[in-house]
Symmetry: C2
Amino acid sequence: MSSLPRIVIVGAGFGGLTAARALDGLAADITVVDRRNFHLFQPLLYQVATAGLNPSDVAWPVRGILSRQRNTRVLLGEVTAIDTGSREVALADGRTLPYDWLILATGATHTYFGNDHWERHAPGLKRVDDATLIRRRLLLALEHAENSRDPAERRKLMSFAIVGAGPTGVELAGAIAELSKKVLIRDFRAIDPRQVRVVLVEGADRVLLSFPPELSAFALSELQKKGVEVMLNTRVTGCDGDGLRFGDGTVLSAATVLWAAGVAASPAARWLGAPADRAGRVQVQPDLSVPGQPQVFVIGDTAAIVQDGKQVPGVAPAAKQQGQHVARIIRAALAGKKSPGPFRYRDFGNLATIGRHSAVIDFGFIRIKGLLAWWLWGVAHVYFLIGARNRMLVATQWFFNYLSYTRAARLIVGADPGAKEP
Amino acid sequence: MSSLPRIVIVGAGFGGLTAARALDGLAADITVVDRRNFHLFQPLLYQVATAGLNPSDVAWPVRGILSRQRNTRVLLGEVTAIDTGSREVALADGRTLPYDWLILATGATHTYFGNDHWERHAPGLKRVDDATLIRRRLLLALEHAENSRDPAERRKLMSFAIVGAGPTGVELAGAIAELSKKVLIRDFRAIDPRQVRVVLVEGADRVLLSFPPELSAFALSELQKKGVEVMLNTRVTGCDGDGLRFGDGTVLSAATVLWAAGVAASPAARWLGAPADRAGRVQVQPDLSVPGQPQVFVIGDTAAIVQDGKQVPGVAPAAKQQGQHVARIIRAALAGKKSPGPFRYRDFGNLATIGRHSAVIDFGFIRIKGLLAWWLWGVAHVYFLIGARNRMLVATQWFFNYLSYTRAARLIVGADPGAKEP
C-alpha cells in the first residue's frame, strides 16, 4: 500500500463524499476523515428540527457508503492542523496522516457576526445535534406554556423567532408555523397552539435573496398566509434568553430564537495559510487547487470561486460537481494525462420550500412556484437521498405526515447543554 | 370542571396509558403526568440501542395518543411527593395536583445492588436516552479500535460485556453479536468486527430464568451459535472503565459494559408510606389499591401482587391488564355499581428473541422455539405498536435490515455525560 499515492479527503459532506466515490477503483490509498461517522443530507435537516423526520432518515454512516470501495478507508477524527511542508494532516488525538494529494471539504457553519455569545440563545442548524436541540426547545417551549399561568410568560414561550430569511430560515419558519397551527392543535388544553407567533427576521428588503424578486414576493405572501410574521430591513443588535433586540431599539419577546443567518467557512484557510475571503473561504485557483499547492484542493462551502462575475453558490450541487472535478484532475495526473483544467459550475436550478403545497424553483430559463414546485421539490429531495431505504422511509413518513397532519418524531430526548431551559 | 371527580394518573407507560384510554368518555377530570412527553414501547428499545430502529419508531407522543380524549389533559412534570392526607401530588416545579382518585404507574428501573457507582461504566436500558447512549458507546468502541495500534487496547475496545441474561440481556447480546459479525463486516480496514467478543454474564445457572429450562437450553445454544460467550453462575463483584471483576477473582477486560440485571421499582412506596417488597414495589391489595387508601392504586412494575402463589411478572401485558382493571373499578364506583373485585392476571404467553431467525415463546400449554417463534415474535411486536405509521415504519426498517444486513440507524450523535470515552 505504501507505494501507492496517498489521497486524504477531509470531510464527508456532499463534496468530500462525491470526490471519494469518484475515485473508486483508482490505484491509490484513500482516507476519508470526518468528525462524524455519517454523511448528512443537510437540505432536509430542518425537517428533523421540526419533528417531521428522524435523524437517521437524513444521515447515513460513511462506512456503509464506502464499505465496498476497497481503496478507501474511513477515519473518525478531527483535523487540528495541516503541515503543507511535510504534507501531513494532524488530528486531535495526536495521529498524523501523510498525503500526496489533499482534498479539503470541511463545509461551513453559521456566524453570529462577532457575537458568539448569542449562540446559546439562538442555535443554528448545521449538525444533527443542532436539529435535535432545536426540536427539543420548540416542543418544550409549548409544554412550559401549557403549564404557565402568567399570560406574559405564556406569550413569550409561544413566540418563536428565526433570524435570516434564506432558504433555511424560510423553511424553518414555514415548518414551525405548520407544526403549531396544524399538527398540534388538539394536543393542548390550556393553550391554543394556533396562537403561536412565528417571526422571521431579515436584514435585507426581501426574503430568499438568492432568488429572483418575483419568487421572493411569492414566498413572502405564502409565509404570511401560513401565519408567519415577516420583518424585513430589520437588523438584530441583541439576543438573550428574553428574545431579540433590533437596530431601531424595539425588542421582540421570544423564548425560542433560531439562527439562520450568516455563513462562515471552516478553518481550512487558516490550516493552509491560504488567502481567504471575508467569510473565511479559501480563494482557490480556477482548478480548485490552493495557490502554490497544486496537489491541495478546497471544494464546497469552504472554497471561494468566481465564475462569470458571480460567486459559485454554497449549495450541494456545486460541492458535488467540485468533488467530481477534483477527482478527474487527480485521475488525469496519476495516469499522466492532461489536466481537465478549470472548474465550470453548471447551475441546474435553485429551489426552496415554504411548507405544505408551496415551494419556489428558479431554473434560470423558467420559474415555478406553488403546488407544482412543491411536488418537484419533494421528488428531487427523495431522489437525491442515499440508498433505497432512506428514500422509502422518507417517502413513507412524508406520506403519513401529509395524510394525517401528525408528526411522530416529536420526542423530547436528551439534555440541553446550552441556554437555560425556559 | 371542578365538580367532576379528579383522576390523576402518574406515568404514561403501558399501565398508565391503558388506564387513561379505558377512562375515555367518563365524566371526570383526568390528568396524565409523565416526566417524558412520549410513551415508550420498551420491548423494542434494545433495537434502538443496537442501531436497528430509530427512537421515534418505538415511542409516540402522549399528547398525540390522548389528543382526542376530551376528558384528559397531559402534563409534562416530575412527581416528587404525594400528600395522602390532603390528596395532592406535588411536582418538581412546585405545582400540586389535587386528586380524588390516584393511579401510580411509575414503572421500574435497573438496580446495581448497592453499587450505584457502576452505573456510569455499565448503563442499563430503560429510557430512550439509555438506548442512544448505548448505541453511541458500541459504535465508538469500534471506531476507537480501528484507530488503535495497541493490540491489548484494541482487544479491550472490541469486547462487550452484558450483565444479566434475562430477556433484555439475551436480546442485547444476540443483537450486538449480529451487528458486529454480520452487519459491520465490510466497514473497517484495520480491525475485523467478526473478532468482537460479546460476553453475557449471568449469576444463575441458566439464561432466561423466567422461561422453562428447555427454552433456556435452546436460547443458550442459539447464543453460542451466534458467537456469544455465556458465563453462567458468575457473580459480578466489580465494574469500572476497564471491565468486570468476578466473585472468583478473575477479570474481564471490556471497554463497554451494559447492565441488564436487577429491577428496582420507582419510589411510589416511599411517596405513599406504603408497605413494599425488597425491590421497592408497593404490596397492593387484591384489587390493586393501596392498603388503607381505597382510591389510590398502584399498577405495573411498581406493584407487587401474588397470584396462585406466584408473583405477577413485570411485563407489559400485566401492566395493561392492571390499567384496565383499575379503570373498571373507578367506573363502577362513579356509577354507584358494585366493584369488579380482585385483579386476575391472564398470562397469554412469554416471549423473547435471541436474534435473526431465533426466538422462544412459552404459551404454557405449548412451547415454540426457533424460526417460527421469531416470526411470531416480530408480528406480535409490530401489532402491539401504537399507530399505523409506527407499524409500517418498523416493518419497513426490519424488512430492509433483514434483506440487506445493514442498519442505517448507526449514527453517533450527542455527547456522553457519563464515563470517560474510550
